[in-house]
Amino acid sequence: MSGATLPVTMPLRGHSRASSLRWFLRKNPRMLVGVVLLAILLFVAAFAPIIAPYDPIKVSVPDQLQPPSIDHWFGTDDLGRDVFSRVLWGSRVSLSVGVISVSIGFLIGVSVGLLAGYLGGTFDLLAMRVIDALLAFPALVLAIAITASLGPQIQNAMIAIGIVAIPGYARLTRGQVLAVRGRDFIVAARTVGVPPFRIVLRHIFPNIANALVVQATLATAFAILAEAALSFLGLGPQPPYPSWGQDINYSQRYLANMKWWMSAGPGIAIFIAVFTFNFLGDALRDALDPRLRRSG
C-alpha cells in the first residue's frame, strides 16, 4: 500500500502492444482468470458445430430421458436430444444476444450521454427525463413488455434488452462528461478552436472509456441473464432451436420424475457465462479505477 515507492512506468518505444497487455495481465491476476474464462466461452460458442457430439435438434426416440453417461455427458431430454450438444449450441444464442444488445445500449446510451453532458441545456433536460422514465421501469419488466409486444423472437429480445441497457450508459456517460468537461485540457482545446464534435470524440471519450468498458462488461452479464429469463418465459428463440432458458423451462415438466439432468446443463451454463462477465467486470473495475490503482 506504500504508494510513494511505486516505480513510474513510462511507455518505451520498443514495447509492443502485446507486451503491454502481458504486463497489465501480470499486474492484475484476476483479469487473467476472467480473460481465460471469456476465451473458453467464446471458443465454445464459435466452434459449437465442431465440438458438439450430436445434432442438437435431432430427435432420437430410443435415446430419450437417459441420465448422464459416457455417450451423453449431460444426458438426453424426452425427445432423445443430447443435452450437452444443446448446451454448446445454446451458448451461441446467449453470447450473441449479450453482445448485440449491449452494443445497441452502448451506441444509443453513450451518444445520448455524451451529447447531454457536453451540450447541457434543453437537450440535457429533455434527454434525462426520458432516461428517468426508462429507469422508472424494473429492467426485466420493461424487457418482457417490449418483447411480448414485438413478438417472441431472438431479434426482439436483443432489441428489448438493448433498450433496457440505454439508461445505464447514458447516466454514466453524462456524469463522466460533466466531470471531465471543465478540466484544463478541454478548456484549452476549446480555446484553440477545436470543433465540439472533435472535442467530444478525441478528448472526452478516451477519458471516460475505462468506466464504459466496465459498464459494458457488467451489462453483458445482465443481458445473458435477461435473455435466459425471456427464453424461460417463452419470449426468446422458439423450439426446437436450443436456448438455455427455454430448455430449463421445458425440463420443468419432468422435475417430478427426477429427470434433473435436463435442466442441470443449461442452468450451470447460464451461471458460468454470467459469472464470467461479472467476474471480469469486477476485475476490470479494480484494474482500471485510478483511485484503486493509486492506493495499490
Binding site: A136, P138, L140, L150, S251
Partner: protein
C-alpha cells in the same frame, strides 16, 4: 423537509407522464390486430368495425392515448381480452399475494445480509470473508428460475417427507401454516439475488465506517467491541443499505414474475406471464404500469428516508 418531498413529488409527475406514454407506445407497436384477439377467429367485418369503434381504435393515436390516460387516472385500466374481468380488479385481487412474497423475500435477504455482512466485515480477509465474497458473486450470477427448480427438486421430491410443497398457494387467512410452507421456497428464490447485493453493501459500508475517527474514539474510551460495532458502526453503515433495499423493489417485482410462474403462485407476475401468449394487452399494460409506479414510489420513499436519516444531505441538492 416538506418542501423537499413536495419538490420530489412534482419532479415525479413528468416522469410518470413519460412512463405512461412509454407503456402506451410499447403496446401500440405490437404487430397484429388486437381487435382480432377480442372479436375471435374469422369475425364478420361489421363486427370488427363495431369492436374497433367500441375500443376506440378507430380514433387517431394521440386521441387514443388521451382517452386511455384519462380512464387510467380514474382507475379504469380496461378489461382483459381473455376473461373480460376488469384489469384493475384482477391486479388488486392478486397484489396482496405478490406483496406478501416480496416482503418475505426482503425480510430474508436483509436479515441474512446484516448478520453475514457484519461478520464478514469484522473478520476481513479471513476464510469467512472470502467465502462471503464468493457467495456474493455466485448469488448475483445464478439464474433465479434455475434456483427455484433446484429448491423444488430438493425440498419437494428428494428430501423424504416433502418438507415444502412444489407449488401452489394458500391465503394466510385460510391456513397460516400452509401459507408459510408455500411461501418459503419462492421467497428464498427471490431473496438470493438481492441477498448478494445487500451483503456486499453491508460489508463495504461497514468497512468504510471502521476507518472513521469516531470508531477509534469509541474504542479509545473503552467501549466493548460489540457495542462499538452495533451502536456506532452498524448504525452509520445502515444508511446506504436503506437505499439499496429501496432500489431492490424493482428486483423483487422482476423476481416475482419468474418465481410466481415456477411455483404457480397467483400474483401479478403470473397474471402478466399468462396474458402474454394470448396478447391480452390491457392486462400486460396494467401490470407494467403498476410495476413502474410501485418502483417510482419506492425510489422516492427511499430518497426521502435517506435525506431524513443522514443529516449531512442537503434537501436542496439531494435530487441532483
Amino acid at each position: 423537509m416538506t418542501q423537499y418531498i413536495l419538490r420530489r413529488l412534482l419532479l415525479m409527475i413528468p416522469v410518470a407522464f413519460l412512463v405512461t406514454i412509454g407503456i402506451f407506445v410499447i403496446i401500440r407497436i405490437a404487430p397484429g390486430d388486437p381487435v382480432l384477439t377480442y372479436a375471435g377467429e374469422d369475425p364478420d367485418p361489421a363486427v370488427i368495425a363495431a369492436v374497433r369503434a367500441q375500443l376506440g381504435l378507430d380514433q387517431p393515436v394521440p386521441v387514443q392515448y388521451a382517452a386511455w390516460l384519462s380512464r387510467a387516472l380514474q382507475g379504469d385500466l380496461g378489461r382483459s381480452f381473455q376473461t373480460h374481468q376488469r384489469v384493475l380488479d384482477a391486479i388488486v385481487e392478486r397484489l396482496p399475494v405478490t406483496f406478501e412474497l416480496g416482503a418475505a423475500a426482503i425480510l430474508i435477504s436483509v436479515s441474512l445480509a446484516l448478520v453475514i455482512g457484519t461478520i464478514s466485515a469484522i473478520k476481513r480477509n479471513s476464510a469467512v470473508d472470502l467465502l462471503t465474497t464468493s457467495i456474493t458473486l455466485a448469488g448475483v450470477s445464478f439464474p433465479n428460475f434455475y434456483l427455484g427448480l433446484l429448491l423444488i427438486l430438493l425440498f419437494a421430491y428428494v428430501i423424504p417427507g416433502h418438507i415444502f410443497p412444489p407449488g401452489g398457494w394458500t391465503p394466510f387467512s385460510t391456513d397460516p401454516g400452509d401459507n408459510l410452507r408455500r411461501l418459503i421456497l419462492p421467497a428464498i428464490t427471490i431473496a438470493t439475488a438481492s441477498l448478494a447485493v445487500n451483503l456486499r453493501q453491508v460489508r463495504s459500508s461497514l468497512l468504510d465506517v471502521f476507518g472513521m475517527d469516531y470508531m477509534r474514539t469509541a474504542r479509545a474510551k473503552g467501549l466493548r467491541e460489540r457495542a462499538v460495532v452495533t451502536r456506532h458502526a452498524l448504525k452509520n453503515a445502515l444508511i446506504p443499505v436503506v437505499t439499496i433495499i429501496g432500489i431492490q423493489v424493482g428486483a423483487i417485482i422482476e423476481g416475482a414474475i419468474i418465481t410466481e410462474t415456477i411455483f404457480f403462485i397467483p400474483g401479478i407476475g403470473r397474471l402478466a406471464v399468462q396474458a402474454i401468449p394470448s396478447q391480452d394487452y390491457p392486462v400486460v399494460q396494467g401490470v407494467v404500469l403498476v410495476a413502474a409506479l410501485s418502483y417510482m414510489v419506492s425510489t422516492l420513499a427511499v430518497d426521502v428516508l435517506y435525506a431524513y436519516l443522514d443529516p449531512r444531505i442537503s434537501f436542496g441538492g439531494a435530487e441532483a
